[in-house]
Each structure stands twice: as structure tokens, then as C-alpha cells.
Amino acid sequence: MSGKKLEPFTVVSIIGVSFAVLACAIPFWMIISGSFTSETELATTGYSLFPAAFDLTAYKMIFTGPAVLDAYFASVFITVVGTALSLAVTSGLSWVIARRLPGISRPLTVFAYLPMLFSGGLVPLYLLVTQYLKLQNSYFSVILPLLVMPFLVFVQVSAFRQLPESIFESAKIDGAGELRIFFTIAIPLSKPILAVVGLFYAVHYWNDWFMALLFIDDVHKFPLPLVLQNLISNISFTQMLPQLAEAATPVYQLRLALTAVTIGPILLAYPFAQRYFVKGITLGATKG
């Protein structure tokens, strides 16, 4: 096999991917570089490809702000516990739907899909969580309302359905029950999709500030995105709002720095998830 020879399609792919990488990496670099550039410079040029006037004001503002460490802890807790719970609950449901059980799978599909379309709105959810479940100021008030995303259920269902049926048949002939098939066969075979769904849940929890805004009023329990959201939203509201004699806030720089602070941990965590869905793929390519 001429393993070294590059086929035209591979060349096109390399060029295509390189282009995509540049389209994402340049703004990424502009954000990182901008977050270290002084506000004056940014207000003049709008961006900087290299921090000509190096400046840490925004980062100082973020990290000396009240309760940033608490916020990191809250976010990590919500993300880790939330992702684990979500993954477990979603996998269970997805599996039952994927099995195409007569009289069960199809109603469940509709049942899980409708919430994607219909929502009771803010007020009932608020009443439910604060007055009936009494979850205010608990991290679970952020986790539970976001526990299952129908979208990811269906992503997982379609992945489960691609598993070869024959394995389950033979397992059944060997006398394995449904639960055992699920835990010992389906789950281990589905690591790539579990990694993807887990990653998406993690991202979802990590980015959420709205549930926290609704249900958490103890500032020491604010997750990171809510703290950041506060900083961002304070810098633009309405003309009716009286100005305050506030210290100079680096608006442009702060927004860029906040982006960097949010993305950082996810970029660190990404390779761990990536392991699972890269491994399989390389096979198809390296043998070519």
C-alpha cells in the first residue's frame, strides 16, 4: 500500500481543515492577545494581534473581584455532578428509546421531544423550584432543571442504534438481562458518544448562568458564568441608568478577558473527552 502517497481528497481536506483552523484560531488569538492589551489601545484599533501595550487590568478586575474562587468551586461542582447525573439519566432513557420496544419507545420519543418545543415559561419553573422544591441557593437548583437535554437524548439514541444488533441477540441467548446488556455491553461500546454527550453537557453546565440567576441569590454561591455575566451586563444597559462615579472599567478588554477565563478550563478538559472519539477515527485513516 502506498501509505505515503497523498490522494487529492486528502490534500483538499488538509487545506479545508487548515482554513477552518485559521478562521477559528485568528479570532481566538485576537481575543487572548486583546485581553492583555490596554483599553486605550483597544478602543483605538478595536483589536490587537500582539499586545503592544501590555496590560493586566481586566484580569486583575476579574480575579480580585468578590468570590471568584467560590465561583470556580461552584462551577466545577455544578459541571462535574451535573454532567455525571445527566449522562446517567440520558443514557438510560436513550437506550430504552433506541431499543425500539413496542409500545414504549415511540411514546417515550414523543414524551422526550415535546419539551424541546413546549415550555411553560419562566414563572411556573420559578414557582416550582423556589416554592415547591425549595431549592434556592442549592447548586441542584442549577443542575436539576438542566438535567436532560432532549437534543442530546436523540443524538445518543441515533448512536445507540448504530451498534450492531447481533451482539445483543447473542448476549440474550446467553441469558443476559436487559440491564446487564446495557451496563456490560452497550455502555462500553458507546464510549465515543458518551464522551461527546458528556462533553456537551459539561459545556452546557459550565456556560449556564441563567438558572443560577433565577435561583441563587447568595453571592458566594454564584457560579463563574453568572459572575462574568454580571460584569458583562453591567457595561451596557440604558441611558436612563444614572452613571455612577465608578472606577475606569476596561470595557473591551474586560469582555475579551472574560471570554478567555471561561474558555480556559474547557480547553483543558477537552483533550480528555477527545481521546475517546479520536481513537476510533484514526484507524480508518492510518491504514490508507
Binding site: T10, V17, G46, R99, L101, F111, F154, E165, L267
Partner: protein, 328 residues
């Protein structure tokens, strides 16, 4: 035991899938009680956090009163729906909503799929890993920051010039006042959406590609297929089920504009509304000073019902042409 008979009825439908799947339909009956346990937590979740609060939709038919709350406010029939549907703008806004979202849906799915297939061709593990991480990153950039970057590109930091206009000038074209010119905006927003979501969606497709057994490619190679042919004949068809699911899911949400991104970028810039105003942005602007949960709920319900109808149609079409990929 008559129930047993009726329950087993579905089997009598003509089988569509491969033989293995037909057998699967019969098999689980024996053990379905335990399998129910797996779905139970999710079922409870949906009941408590989604279906119970849906009772709150009644407020769409009520004259909302803060003091009385959503359940005790007086009824007012369809009045809450009227302000939107009877507005002279409804037709244009509905068109924009559909047009933009179809554009976004198709463009992002195509971009995700193409990107995944291309990534799959990369042999250097290092390059593959790095490029995957990098293309995923835009998903995290908040719309506010996207808006800043766009302003720098299209208008310059202080409202004159901009990188794109500089480039146009270099090529001998006249500069464009992008922020007062509605024409190009559907395409600008589509580019933004593709940038935002292309990498995110490519991860889903990559995971699907991972599931493709190695032997399939080996067989293809023995037949002397080029890599392009294999991508076209093997990978792409196997990604179809995933794409179909994502498409149907997307169709249901087609009446929800992408409020966050569009509003952060267009904001209250009326000159661009002709091509960018969608239901969500219109409603937000019209109602932000009224604080009326009734009318908000009415619009939401309208979007849901229309979305529901569209999904039904999509599912029916899908079942007709490709039963295998149907989510139902």
C-alpha cells in the same frame, strides 16, 4: 390476556429494517419491566421540570396581572396572540424567521458534516487533535464578543472604515456602510452561525464516524476505491441517520430565532430589520417595556405549535422516504 394481543400488534407491520432488528422487536417483551427502570429517572425529570410547568401556558390566554399571578389573572381569550399576528410586520417577520433559520440549519449541518469528513482524512494525530480543539472553540465565544469582532471587521473600532472595507478598497471596490445596509446580513449572520456551530456539530459527526467498522473501509480499499470515493460512498451515507436526526430536531425549533446571537449583533439597529428581524427579537423589543408574561407566553405557544406542526410534517416525510433514519 387480551392486552397481550393488542400489545404485540406492532409486530405485524411490514418489517423495514434488517432481519436482526425485527427480531429485536420481539425479544425485549420478556424483560421490558427492568428496562423501564432505565428510563424512569428521565421520565420523572420530564414530568416535574417540563410537563408540570406547562400548566403555566394558561397565562397565554389571560390578561396578566402581577398581583394575581399567572393562575388567577382573568381570562382574555386570544387577545394576547392578536398583537403579534395582527401587526403589519407579521408576514415579514415570519418570513425572516423561516428563511434565516433554514439557512442556519442547512449551512451549519453541512459545515459540521464536511468538517468532520475532512478531519477524518487528516493523518497526523497531532494536527487532528489541535485542529479539532480549535474549531470547537468558537462555540464558547459569547455573542457580545462576536458582535465586537464583527464591528471591528465591518465598521472599524470607531465607526469608520473597518478591515473588510479596507480590503474592498484595496481591490478597488467602494466601501460599504455595512451597518445600514440590510441586504448582506442574512449571509453575514449565516457565516457567523457556521463559525459558531460548525466545529461543535462536527464533533457529533466525528463520533458517528468512529462507529463505522474498520472492515467497511478495508473492503472499499480492496475494491480500489479512492479516498474521495470512500468518503462519498461509505462515510457520507453512514452519517445520514445522524444528520437526519439533527435536521428533524432543528426543524422543530425553526420558529425560534437565534435570539442571543442576532440580538447581540443587530440589537436595535432598525436599518437592518428588513432582513434580520425574527419573532424573538421583535417580541423582545415590543414587550421589554411592558413586562407582560401573558403576551410573551402567547408568542411562545404560537412558535411551539407551528414548530410542532412542522416537525410532524418532517417526520412524515422522513418516514416515507427513509424509514431507517426516522427518529420515531
Amino acid at each position: 390476556m387480551s392486552t397481550l394481543q393488542t400489545r404485540q400488534e406492532p409486530q405485524t407491520r411490514p418489517p423495514s429494517g434488517p432481519p436482526g432488528r425485527r427480531r429485536a422487536r420481539r425479544g425485549p417483551v420478556r424483560t421490558s419491566w427492568t428496562i423501564g427502570l432505565l428510563a424512569l429517572p428521565a421520565v420523572v425529570f420530564f414530568l416535574v421540570f417540563n410537563y408540570l410547568p406547562m400548566a403555566g401556558l394558561v397565562v397565554a390566554f389571560k390578561q396578566f396581572d402581577v398581583n394575581l399571578g399567572i393562575f388567577d389573572s382573568p381570562w382574555n381569550g386570544l387577545e394576547n396572540f392578536a398583537y403579534f399576528l395582527e401587526s403589519g410586520d407579521a408576514a415579514r417577520i415570519l418570513f425572516n424567521t423561516l428563511f434565516l433559520n433554514i439557512l442556519f440549519l442547512i449551512a451549519t449541518l453541512a459545515a459540521g458534516m464536511i468538517l468532520a469528513i475532512m478531519l477524518n482524512e487528516i493523518r497526523s494525530t497531532f494536527f487532528k487533535r489541535v485542529s479539532q480543539s480549535v474549531v470547537f472553540f468558537p462555540y464558547f465565544v459569547s455573542p457580545v464578543v462576536i458582535s465586537i469582532i464583527l464591528q471591528v471587521l465591518l465598521a472599524g473600532a470607531s465607526g469608520g472604515g473597518g478591515a473588510v472595507n479596507d480590503a474592498l478598497g484595496g481591490l478597488g471596490f467602494p466601501a460599504v456602510d455595512w451597518y445600514t445596509e440590510p441586504g448582506p446580513w442574512p449571509w453575514i449572520l449565516t457565516v457567523v452561525k457556521v463559525w459558531q456551530l460548525g466545529g461543535y456539530l462536527s464533533v457529533i459527526f466525528l463520533a458517528a464516524i468512529t462507529g463505522i467498522p474498520e472492515e467497511v473501509y478495508e473492503a472499499g480499499m480492496i475494491d480500489g476505491a479512492s479516498r474521495a470515493q470512500m468518503a462519498w460512498r461509505i462515510t457520507l451515507p453512514l452519517l445520514k441517520p445522524t444528520a437526519a436526526v439533527l435536521l428533524v430536531l432543528g426543524v422543530g425549533r425553526i420558529f425560534y430565532g437565534d435570539f442571543g446571537t442576532i440580538y447581540a449583533i443587530v440589537g436595535d439597529n432598525g436599518t437592518l430589520f428588513d432582513s434580520t428581524d425574527v419573532i424573538d427579537t421583535y417580541v423582545f423589543r415590543a414587550l421589554r417595556q411592558l413586562g407582560d408574561f401573558g403576551t410573551t407566553a402567547a408568542v411562545g405557544l404560537f412558535q411551539s405549535v407551528v414548530g410542532f406542526i412542522l416537525v410532524l410534517i418532517a417526520v412524515l416525510i422522513q418516514r416515507k422516504y427513509s424509514k431507517e433514519t426516522s427518529i420515531l
